[in-house]
């Protein structure tokens, strides 16, 4: 009996040591494992809708140019070497480089660019990227002219996000075009196991030079704790993480954490069609009543930038002239008294979906401190969105992303977006006109001034009670070098390198 036990123990130990050798201690120097939260639903260059999809497609597909979404930088050449805008702002001409090829080796020509632009134009998913585009002309194989109906300044940033796909490949097989894409970017699609992972491989003939990292695997890990453990074991080299995993990962000397600013905003939306929120003083009072620092510490583990302005600080058009609300409960009480509100006053329900419930709880407490009582009503996400967009609520808390050009913020203010993203149901002729005039202005400085007016007005009227801009957090192996993450935190594996 004793002998059996010893043998069993020996076998166990042998098995353990053997398996230790099988598990990689650290990844090979030319491959990278990235963890993502969810599987990709599609690999279509234009008909995608989620963050994981755009993050992956950005490696497979190249764009005409690269433009930092903060609007402060000149666009960098990619497939287009240079561009011109006509005087009146209705015509954008792109000159393509001649050495760019798709992954099957065929050259990228003006016909492919026209095809891709039209793909976006027709797309219910990403059509807004080419808003204003009327027709596309190709005078020769390497020139593309975009005609706009009217001058529309946000066009440039939008068109810079269009993935350039192969027209010939689409015509050969529209199914393969989606399921087995041939792209124009630095990485080739290799294959995927649904629900588990997706593999990319360096495209060595990429016109900017072969990428340094040769093989990329996206592993789908939905649980944030699991992701944090996989980062520590070295099974995963790079991942976007939740703020709740920060502490644990910061303690590990092999892991670096980087923060990327985003333009997404967490806010309290008030239904301006309902009392007492139709009174600007009440809205200002609510803006003063919220302790934003405290909320960021509780709900975001400190990983968000406090900002009462819907326009984030990195965005084009932001300025210090735009008023910032700070925590001032006394001022809030004064304003409420001026508005004729007798406290304690019953505000009704704060409408939230489960994932925003913690925000509502903090806000509820802050409002109570100034004499505004509210219950929290948690609804299933789709039911919540239904109520929010149809105006069947009085006050709500949520997080929204209107990324891209600053002009995208028109969705939160213009009358035509009541029923979609204008949750405050704000309707003001002057505001509508300002947003329209911003699109027609081709001079950057003047355009910034219009946005300055817009956000000053939005802040003075306290249309929303914006709380903060959450940060996107990335954790990665200390031997991996990644350039600084810019606004929205889009990343390009082409720029990554193992040291």
């Amino acid at each position: 009996m004793k002998k059996i036990k010893t043998t069993a123990a020996a076998v166990c130990i042998a098995a353990m040591t053997m398996s230790m050798n099988i598990l990689p201690v650290s990844a090979a120097n030319d491959s990278l494992v990235i963890a993502i939260d969810a599987d990709l639903d599609t690999l279509h260059p234009s008909d995608f809708s989620t963050t994981v999809e755009i993050d992956t497609l950005n490696q497979i597909y190249d764009t005409l140019m690269y433009m930092n979404p903060d609007g402060e930088h000149e666009p960098e050449a990619r497939i287009a070497e240079s561009y011109e805008v006509s005087e009146d702002g209705t015509q954008y001409t792109f000159h393509l480089r001649k050495d760019a090829t798709f992954h099957d080796g065929t050259p990228i020509t003006a016909a492919d660019v026209k095809f891709s632009l039209e793909l976006y134009q027709k797309s219910p998913y990403q059509g807004s990227q080419v808003t204003g585009l009327s027709t596309v002309e190709t005078p020769d194989d390497y020139t593309v002219v975009c005609h706009l109906e009217n001058a529309y300044s946000p066009f440039l940033l939008g068109v810079c996000s269009v993935h350039i796909a192969s027209k010939a490949y689409y015509e050969a097989s529209p199914e393969e075009f989606v399921s087995n894409p041939i792209g124009s970017g630095p990485y080739k699609y290799v294959g995927r196991n649904k629900g588990s992972n997706l593999t990319l491989e360096a495209y060595d003939d990429y016109y900017r030079g072969a990428p340094s990292i040769k093989e990329v695997t996206y592993e789908i890990i939905p649980d944030s704790s699991t992701k944090a453990i996989a980062l520590q074991t070295g099974e995963v080299n790079f991942a976007s993480i939740e703020s709740s995993s920060m502490m644990q990962l910061q303690a590990n000397p092999n892991i670096v954490i980087a923060e990327a600013p985003t333009s997404g905003f967490t806010y309290v939306s008030m239904n301006l069609e309902k009392e007492p929120f139709n009174d600007v003083k009440v809205r200002q009072a609510i803006n003063y009543a919220i302790d934003r620092e405290n909320l960021v510490a509780i709900c975001f583990d400190g990983e968000a930038e406090v900002n009462s302005n819907i326009c984030s600080k990195d965005r084009f058009g932001y300025s210090e002239d735009q008023f910032q609300y700070t925590y001032d409960p006394e001022k809030a009480k004064e304003l409420l008294a001026e508005a004729g509100i007798e406290t304690p006053y019953d505000l009704g329900e704060i409408l939230v979906a489960e994932k925003y419930a913690n925000i509502a709880t903090v806000v509820q407490n802050d409002l109570k401190a100034v004499g505004l009582e509210a219950e929290i009503a948690v609804k299933e996400f789709n039911a919540y969105i239904d109520d929010l967009t149809s105006g069947n609520y009085s006050i709500a808390a949520l997080n929204m992303t209107l990324e891209g050009d600053t002009q995208m913020l028109e969705m939160a203010f213009m009358t035509e977006y009541i029923g979609t993203a204008n949750n405050a149901r704000y309707s003001d002729e002057e505001m509508n006109t300002l947003f329209i005039s911003a699109t027609a202005e081709t001079d950057a400085e003047k355009r910034a001034e219009i946005y300055n007016q817009i956000f000053q007005k939005a802040q003075n009227e306290a249309i929303y009670a914006v709380i903060c801009n959450p940060l996107t957090l990335y954790a990665y192996n200390k031997d991996l070098s990644c350039p600084e993450f810019t606004l929205e935190g889009f990343y390009y594996i082409y720029d990554f390198q193992w040291q």
Binding site: S49, P124, S196, E219, T233, L402
Partner: protein, 316 residues
């Protein structure tokens, strides 16, 4: 017995129709439409409407239901996912093998551990071993699955570095999820087997067997166990069927693509074809398993076998 099985197979048709109608109705009654869920809050209403029309979601509820059932019956087609626009059967087939493996592994481990410890516990009632088994079972039955999974991962993946923390690529990936699922269910089986055995041991035929001088081994294996196993097998069958629905917690914690996460994700996205396809697939399997369990009774219990025989004749 063949006739009985055939009849039971026919009963499955109304059951499956009922299941599909019920699930389809509930899905249609929940708020939200696929178009606005996919395109999000910032989408234009006309884009949302166009997408819904493309999915046929603009049609009235009953028409959509009959179209769906018609496609299954006449074209053997479970439909196309709203989200991925790929055939639903592909989504199911990419995930079902993982779930099936995990189910078989964890059921094997839990029945071997649970039943054998349950028998020992019952036979040596009030011994130290019995006390240890009962207390351990109580602890494991009360531990939440996600916590157990994370603890196992912390120990075996992070500290010892001998097992992978996520994925489903190799057999090694299944060790931790199997442990997570089977610990809890083994605890339940242990308690069930123990109490069933204790009850049987007190029956008069056991006393008779003892009186006629049968060995203890024979009494336990031949007389007590066979009778005690009936409720255990019922539980095993239903829990086997239920776990084919996916061990959602183990799947999520260990990032293992399985049926559970497929269905929960699809419900959240209101991907009706995926939810329906997966539910029908599982309902069919579940019905088949329950049928097998019923037939197994006959193997274990001759009284039930006798009932299946034509005319209910008995060979005495």
């Amino acid at each position: 017995m063949g006739k009985y099985a055939g009849k039971r197979l026919l009963y499955m048709i109304p059951v499956l129709l009922g299941v599909s109608f019920l699930v389809f109705t509930i899905l249609s009654l929940t708020p939200g439409d696929p178009g606005s869920i996919i395109l999000g809050i910032t989408a234009k209403p006309e884009d949302i409407a166009a997408l819904n029309a493309e999915f046929g979601y603009d049609q009235p509820f009953l028409i959509r239901f009959f179209n769906y059932i018609g496609d299954i019956i006449f074209h053997f087609d479970l439909g196309t996912s709203y989200q991925s626009r790929q055939p639903v059967i592909e989504d199911i087939m990419a995930r079902f093998p993982n779930t099936l493996k995990l189910t078989i592994f964890s059921m094997s481990v839990s029945s071997i551990v649970g039943i054998s410890l349950g028998i020992i516990s019952a036979v040596r009632q009030y011994s130290t071993l019995d006390h240890i088994c009962v207390v351990t079972a109580l602890i494991f039955a009360s531990i939440p699955g996600f916590w157990l999974g994370l603890m196992l991962m912390l120990i075996f993946s992070l500290k010892l570095r001998i097992l992978p923390s996520y994925g489903a690529g190799t057999l090694k990936h299944f060790i931790l999820p199997t442990l997570t699922v089977s610990m809890t269910s083994a605890a339940g089986l242990l308690r069930l087997t123990r109490s069933a055995m204790l009850e049987t041991v007190r029956q008069e035929y056991i006393r008779t067997a003892k009186a006629k001088g049968a060995s203890e081994k024979r009494i336990i294996w031949k007389h007590a166990l066979r009778n005690a196993l009936l409720p255990v097998i019922t539980t095993l069958g239903t829990s086997f069927g239920a776990s084919l629905g996916g061990a959602i917690i183990a799947e999520t914690v260990f990032a293992m693509p399985g049926m559970g996460t497929l269905i929960t994700t699809a419900i959240r996205q209101k991907d009706i074809p995926v939810v329906m396809g997966a539910t029908l697939f599982l309902a069919t399997l579940f019905s088949l398993i329950i049928l097998i369990v019923d037939l197994l009774y006959a193997v274990i219990d001759p009284r039930i076998k006798a009932k299946y025989q034509s005319g209910g004749k008995r060979r005495d």
